[in-house]
């Protein structure tokens, strides 16, 4: 479904991504991990072209993102994205946050989009908060609304960019619960995360990055189950992260 083909990206003369190649199939739950500054967040943002690439290409559901003729807004509307800092629209109520893009981008009617939005809000267990503003919710609640907002667009794939990194520890669980449920329903997901428990239990594939390169790209059972087969860099990372 997503074909990342040999992409490279530079910020000025600094190369953030070097020849990254991987494939994500329908129904895959892929976890992207690695030390900070390794290019994980940049990689996931290139998938819906929020970050432009200078070399290579990405094919999302048959559409090339670097093709000049591609309607990027239309492509992005089919790819859900959840951000580290939630990025709900603070000047709009929860309901408006859920319906705005459905109405303005997908051209749905107001009734239709409210119905769809409320269904998703119910799914993340926050129906009671539909008339509040984002600032009135806790971080965990905001992130769940952000997931509902992305799901309201009926995406073919969901991208999660460190969805729990900015949360208080006790709120991490509620967000992960939503993500686990989503994965069990068969949603195709790509998640940048440090939650190794989630990666171990839910994902079927792990991508390990270091210094802008994809170092490991393997089944998660192998990544966690056969540490002896891993590269030294991944071994080092795993030993540090699994210690506790």
């Amino acid at each position: 479904m997503i074909d990342i083909k040999n992409i490279s990206k530079w910020y000025g003369t600094f190369q953030v991504l070097t020849d990254c190649t991987t494939t994500i199939n329908k129904g895959d739950v892929v976890v992207v991990c690695g030390p900070s500054g390794s290019g994980k967040s940049t990689l996931i943002k290139t998938v819906n072209a929020l970050e432009p690439i200078q070399k290579g290409d990405i094919i999302v559901d048959g559409t090339s993102i670097s093709d000049k003729k591609t309607d990027l807004p239309k492509l992005r509307s089919r790819v859900g994205m959840v951000f580290q800092h939630f990025e709900l629209f603070p000047h709009l109520s929860i309901t408006d946050n859920l319906t705005l893009a459905q109405i303005k981008v997908l051209g749905r009617t107001k009734d239709e989009s409210i119905k769809r939005g409320m269904k998703m809000l119910d799914r993340v267990g926050l129906s009671a908060h539909k008339d509040k503003f984002p600032g009135q919710l806790s971080g965990g609640q905001q992130q769940r609304v952000a997931i509902a907002r992305a799901l309201s667009m009926d995406p073919i794939v969901m991208l999660f960019d460190e969805p729990t990194s900015a949360l208080d520890p006790e709120m991490v669980g509620e967000v992960l619960d939503v993500m686990v449920a989503l994965a069990h329903e068969g949603m195709t997901m790509m998640c940048v995360t440090h939650e190794m428990g989630f990666a171990k239990r839910v994902s079927n594939k792990v991508i390990f990055m270091d210094a802008g390169k994809i170092v490991e790209d393997c089944a998660s059972a192998d990544f966690f189950g056969k540490p002896e087969e891993r590269s030294p860099r991944a071994k080092d990372f795993l030993s540090k992260i699994l210690q506790h």
């Binding site: 509307s77 990025e87 893009a101 981008v105 992305a150 667009m153």
Partner: protein, 231 residues
């Protein structure tokens, strides 16, 4: 000579025929210039923040030029340079007869746009990059993202500053005396000349400007507190 001030000439009749039309015009000028200035200023701010260097250049030149010339000179230039045919074109004979008044509206709109654009630029930059990403990520185009996500927030963040600039604008409108437009101050001056009481008329004019501007700034201060709570 003692200050023997005589305000008996300021009858309700005189106020109605001479002063109030001037006040209306001053308020009209302020309001239209604010509205036009904010709209034009926002466009200039967007040009300045665009990724196209030639658009940035045009916007920067516009802002830097107008901010480097005294307002009084800009008022005179616009008045002298715009041909009278232009006014009859936009408002017929009414436009021709009120040339200074129309010239002032145009001047102030373009002049204030330079200042409002800097405020809006700061406002747009106060909205985080993540909000823009979020807008794009749900499939919005650049213009949707600006209209629906960034500008509403920028506007709200900058409202107190925009209004403060409008108070300055209101006071500056008194400069249109240079081209003879009939504004609030001109109204008082006319009364002073007609009834031979020029000295007396300076004080109430100043008092009125003070009261209007001061109450507006009080309003802005209250608004500022309110916005702080919402955040």
């Amino acid at each position: 000579m003692a200050l023997d001030l005589d305000y008996s000439v300021l009858t309700p009749e005189v106020i109605k025929t001479n002063i109030l039309p001037g006040l209306y015009y001053s308020l009209e000028l302020t309001f239209v210039a604010m509205l036009g200035g904010v709209i034009l200023g926002t466009l200039i701010a967007l040009m300045r923040l665009s990724s196209k260097p030639w658009l940035q250049r045009i916007a920067a030149t516009y802002v830097d030029t107008l901010r480097s010339i005294p307002l009084l000179m800009v008022i005179l230039w616009f008045y002298l340079l715009i041909p009278s045919g232009f006014y009859s074109m936009i408002a017929g004979s009414f436009g021709e007869n009120h040339r200074p008044e129309f010239a002032a509206v145009i001047t102030f709109t373009f002049f204030e746009a330079a200042y409002y654009s800097e405020i809006m630029r700061a406002g747009i930059q106060s909205v985080s990059r993540g909000q823009v990403y979020a807008g794009y990520a749900v499939g919005m185009t650049y213009s949707q993202c600006m209209r629906l996500i960034v500008l509403p927030q920028a506007f709200r963040n900058m409202l107190p500053v925009l209004l403060t600039q409008t108070i300055v604008l209101f006071q500056d409108t008194s400069l249109v005396y240079a081209i003879g437009a009939y504004d609030f101050l001109h109204g008082f001056q006319t009364v002073g000349q007609v009834y031979n009481r020029p000295n007396e008329m300076v004080l109430p004019a100043a008092a009125c400007y003070f009261v209007l501007s001061f109450s507006l700034s009080m309003l802005v201060r209250r608004l500022q507190k309110k916005i702080q709570i919402i955040r």
